[in-house]
Symmetry: C2
Subunit: 344 residues, 2 copies
């Protein structure tokens, strides 16, 4: 079968690999029908040291179950399913607490002996715990929105939950990438009265406005903090969704948070220490978030996507076949595309 | 009247100053009957640049109301009252949210035209918002415990609240100073099943054991993290109360927190950035806390102190007169005393 493998910064290849197959009784074998490229895939695309073994890529996908192991009971051949961006057994204490990303048996796609999702097929460990059945056909028009349940919409939702967004609040989203855009949807869904988006790519911030944001702040750093304060009567915002992962973005997040407010961070941190230790202390700002337990949120968010009330699928502005995946990485890295959908 | 003034690192003097008096209709004039020295007073005691004007010291005190301004209605001459370590008007939105430390009219003792509490008397701004009446006589035997409501017990409680301590949990307290000891009491009060204290001063950790801690971890840094993991079956703890304010203490706090857990920090940070940005992200650890809104907690905690169920007053191991305050600073700085009570 064909799959995407990264061999180093800028070196993404689609090549023949051994067919995925079931190896454990709790596995499912999935034929992938939709996948995508994640903003977090761009970090290794920028930085990965050359590696002759290569790393299987892709952790967001929808597929059709081809076969299941003898212990799998919740999905069967022919089912259309979505997978969260980490697999999990669904039975451990962390899964029970809704923190599937810390599952005692869980792991990352492309590691732990599984392949990645930017491929024709994949072995799914702990299929009962990991997969969620979708009540639609494999070519349903809602596929883009449903695919965001794999990661990007659940991640934006996690940011909003961790930032403790409540009805009536003013909320800021730092970052205009696909996660930030989903953060706008998530914050509005949780009742935010006014959402500000901090970003400087007008194609993206225009989409943010369509998705419910009221204000765009293009300034960065101190100017960005001042602009948000100007827009909020000097107050700052109750909740900030930090959807970038760079030190300056986090510093901005702390700087624009109202005393007693919270920052929900989902940008994978590209830095060692969280700036603003004094300011966040004197303002009693809570910092929460992390790698989003997407599996915990899929059932909650799916109905509104199925009904069309929420349109997170709008973050996809490009669709390619598997052979074109290297070009998809390039397009996202150069910001020619917000998020690329793959039809293997 | 006599009051304590700091003129620089190590230079604390008790001297004659102009008598405190009422200047605003919302003021009260308080004759101070008990005060104390705070661990946070030791930061300027170590670091303050020489200053010929000097800084009035002391922010924890109990006193008897001598007089009130015409707009004060909740306290009257003769009342015994406790003051939180910041004053606040009790009417703004932040006070309404329980974040009195961000009160729009509030401030710090010894600044904003008020004197400090290590003195014979003090002017209390916004007396209605700031002061809480104590239903005891000024020489009641419970004074040490009641005095901790001014800061140190409420601060330990804030750490426990921000660390989201819940019944049945395993909790760690980082730091064996007076706040850490009060944190042990607060964590047990909120239902912690098992409390570990991280500290290496046996007189203090012995007291922690008497106050309800189950285990003492004397190791620091990586060894401390390993020891806590050993004591918790490799798991780490659900909640950590960071009661030191040094970078290593915070790093330890992150290192011993179970995924999905929380760190409540109340140690005034002596560093700029919070270490462990990656670890706290991948483990979804929440970092909360800051300067404790003591005023929000006094009424909740007072009844159990009055009934003798809680004994936070045990953190005082020394009692001095006002003239001996410089020696009190020295004793605390050299760790000859945990916390010094002053009877002006």
């Amino acid at each position: 079968m064909r799959a995407t493998v990264m061999y180093g910064a800028g070196d993404v290849r689609v090549e023949e690999v051994p067919d995925a197959s079931i190896s454990e009784p709790t596995d499912a074998l999935l034929r992938i029908t939709r996948a995508c490229i994640c903003g977090s895939d761009l970090w290794p695309y920028k930085q990965m040291p050359a590696d002759s073994e290569g790393a299987p890529m892709g952790h967001e996908f929808i597929g059709v179950v081809e076969d299941v192991g003898v212990e799998v009971s919740t999905v069967a051949a022919g089912d259309v399913v979505v997978a969260p961006f980490m697999f999990s057994d669904g039975t451990c204490d962390f899964c029970g607490e809704g923190l599937h990303t810390s599952c005692r048996k869980g792991g990352m796609w492309g590691r732990s002996g599984t392949g990645g999702g930017q491929a024709e097929a994949v072995r799914v460990p702990y299929a009962d715990g990991t997969l969620v059945k979708l009540p639609v056909a494999e070519d349903d028009a809602l596929m883009p929105g449903l695919l965001t349940l794999s990661d990007v919409f659940c991640t934006g939702h996690h940011a909003a939950v961790c930032a403790r967004v409540r009805p009536g609040q003013t909320v800021a989203v730092v970052g205009d990438g696909a996660v930030g855009l989903c953060g706008v949807i998530a914050a509005k869904r949780l009742g935010a009265e006014r959402v500000l988006i901090l970003g400087r790519h007008t194609d993206r911030t225009d989409l943010a406005l369509e998705l419910g944001a009221a204000d765009v702040v293009a300034e960065r750093g101190k100017e960005g903090v001042e602009r948000v304060r100007d827009l909020t009567g000097g107050e700052g915002v109750h909740a900030v969704l930090e959807c970038v992962g760079l030190e300056q973005a986090f510093q901005t997040a702390i700087g624009i948070t109202r005393p007693g407010g919270a920052v929900g961070r989902v940008g994978v941190p590209q830095f060692d220490s969280l700036p603003g230790a004094g300011l966040s202390f004197f303002h009693n700002i809570t910092v929460s978030g992390g790698v989003a337990p997407a599996r915990a949120y899929i059932e909650e968010l799916m109905p509104e996507v199925l009904e069309g009330d929420l349109q997170p699928g709008r973050v996809f502005d490009s669709e390619i076949g598997l052979a074109d995946v290297p070009g998809g990485y390039k397009a996202m890295d150069e910001r020619d595309s917000i998020k690329v959908m793959i039809r293997p």
